[in-house]
Symmetry: C2
């Protein structure tokens, strides 16, 4: 790990020591997923060049793609005007970010008659992805 | 307000009754900002066609652009696979989403030598925006 970690101190970590992270596909501009990072996750992401998140449900570091192979190669790391949200521009290996086997997690669209509907295709059966 | 609000019940509101929201410019794909909505804000956003957020600092509804005129016209409302994050595709009136007068709030880039640097231009002096 690098000794220059002042940039990590500039992030406004929330009361749980986390920051929200938006993962955007650099080539298409598609927003693929939303997750959280702690300080260690952000440092590892920057140093390894692959997205590492903090899994709030499993309470541990989560190297995205560690099971599926669908890792995210970091292209750009941005932070917002308040230093409390990270935008990660990535290239999505395998083209699938969602655990449902879809390109993006944001596949449910609101229709004005008052319902959500899945409108994006499943590219690969999750049972094939997580063997 | 519409009586069909079942779709609002399907959102997994957090312990504060909020959901994180990513605002993405529909035409460019640029991620412009990140904010929060409560149930009322999401309903108003859907019904009015303009983004209404919940300001956590001011603890009140915040019709984006109410002061600046930089309202966000809703093009599409998406929700993620876990029903706990909203992606709002919008058109940004005035082309400025950030209170610093920039197009996007994500104007600070991480450089590998370990620092953040603002790399996007201020399009309009904030003192001109918020008179």
């Amino acid at each position: 790990m690098s000794e220059n970690t002042r940039w990590l101190n500039e992030v406004k970590w929330d009361e749980h020591g986390l920051v929200p992270v938006i993962a955007q596909e650099a080539s298409s501009g598609d927003v693929l997923m939303f997750a959280w990072m702690n300080r260690d996750a952000l440092q590892r992401t920057a140093e390894s060049g692959e997205a590492v998140y903090w899994s709030r449900s499993r309470r541990k570091l989560w190297h995205k793609g560690e099971e599926s192979g669908h890792v995210q190669k970091v292209v750009d790391i941005r932070i917002d005007c308040d230093n409390d949200v990270v935008l990660l521009k990535i290239e999505q290996v395998g083209g699938i970010a969602c655990h449902t086997g879809r390109h993006s997690c944001f596949f449910q669209k609101y229709f004005a008659d008052g319902h959500w509907q899945a409108i994006e295709p499943v590219l690969k059966d999750p049972q094939e992805i997580y063997k």
